[in-house]
Subunit: 203 residues, 2 copies
């Protein structure tokens, strides 16, 4: 793909099964649309405070459907999926680790994000703690000690807070959420629609 | 399509833009999957009381996206769409009119449902009142006087109440909602997935 092709914003929450599936489809998607994704993890907790929504899984009727659909969507896309014993979890440490890594090496940050997602949704690892995040980070070649101390850095904490604010300002309310030249698309099941949108120039 | 092919339950709410779009795609969909849809209008009001959800349009962030996506989804499917001035509306009269007609003539009930949807979402007609519903019903050849008096029949009111209860018991929490041999699918954007599911036998 052309290196100056405009990036598509790819917002996601590390505790989101649909975000996980999208992350596993990302490279293939980029190749097909010929544009890069800018990975922007965010936190649905603060967003749900604004939208007044409980976690999806806690909504009567919808929660049961969601649980069935997480696994069904994973099977459709041939992505390994094992519903986590503890779900959802807080993902602020995962988010901080991503942005800390991203500032140094975006490719490594992406590898970290994919590893965190796989750990949580396919390998039964709790990524809700700093220790869990550091262990996964080490597995992709990140310096665990440096990361562990960075996770407590107030500047990094503020950075993640600002990223979440920016996501909300852009209208993001779910995961995954894509913004293509200002046009918002919510959901992994909308990825084919985004492809059509880009190919056709929109409708 | 084979007349004894098993029907797919097609639940919808008359004030749902996505239900409207699905209704306009219904015949084409039936031809492609080779199975008939059983049209089952329901009321999202009582369902939202159970799920604790406000109307989609009232949810911060999500409401703005929904409004954009209603029109965008309609353009994608080449369905005329004009966001109603009064939205959402109560659709209990529309629902009653459907089931009253369905008991006599299912094909006419389907024609009525499509006409009600077009009236509300393409022609700026308020179908939230018995008068509005009767006017649309007359336009598809239904006896307006008989319908107007039937709309006040306690047995018909109870019938609609039971249909909504049955929808909730089946796990329906949104519109459109399809159930294929026990497998639930929510959303007009899942219709291609349903086709794949039926063609492949599921996954």
């Amino acid at each position: 793909m052309s290196s100056n092709a405009r990036a598509i914003d790819f917002y996601f929450e590390f505790a989101s099964p649909y975000g996980y599936i999208a992350s596993q489809l990302a490279e293939d998607f980029e190749r097909r649309v010929g544009r890069p994704l800018k990975w922007r993890p965010m936190l649905l907790g603060p967003v749900f405070k604004i939208t007044g929504q409980p976690p999806l899984i806690d909504i009567p009727l919808k929660g049961a459907y969601a649980k069935l659909d997480f696994a069904r969507s994973a099977r459709l896309h041939k992505v390994p999926y094992q519903h986590p014993a503890k779900f959802p979890i807080g993902t602020v440490a995962a988010c901080r680790a991503f942005y800390w890594t991203d500032d140094q090496d975006p490719a490594k940050a992406r590898a970290l994000a994919k590893a965190l997602y796989r750990a949580y949704f396919a390998e039964g690892i709790d990524i809700g703690t700093a220790q869990g995040v550091v262990a996964v980070a080490k597995s992709v070649g990140i310096d665990g000690e440096k990361l562990a101390s960075a996770l407590e850095d107030p500047a990094l904490k503020a950075r993640v807070f600002k990223e979440v604010e920016a996501a909300v300002a852009a209208g993001v309310f779910g995961s995954p959420f894509f913004i293509v030249d200002g046009e918002p698309f919510w959901g992994v099941d909308r990825m084919p629609m985004i492809e059509d949108w880009i190919r056709s120039g929109g409708w």
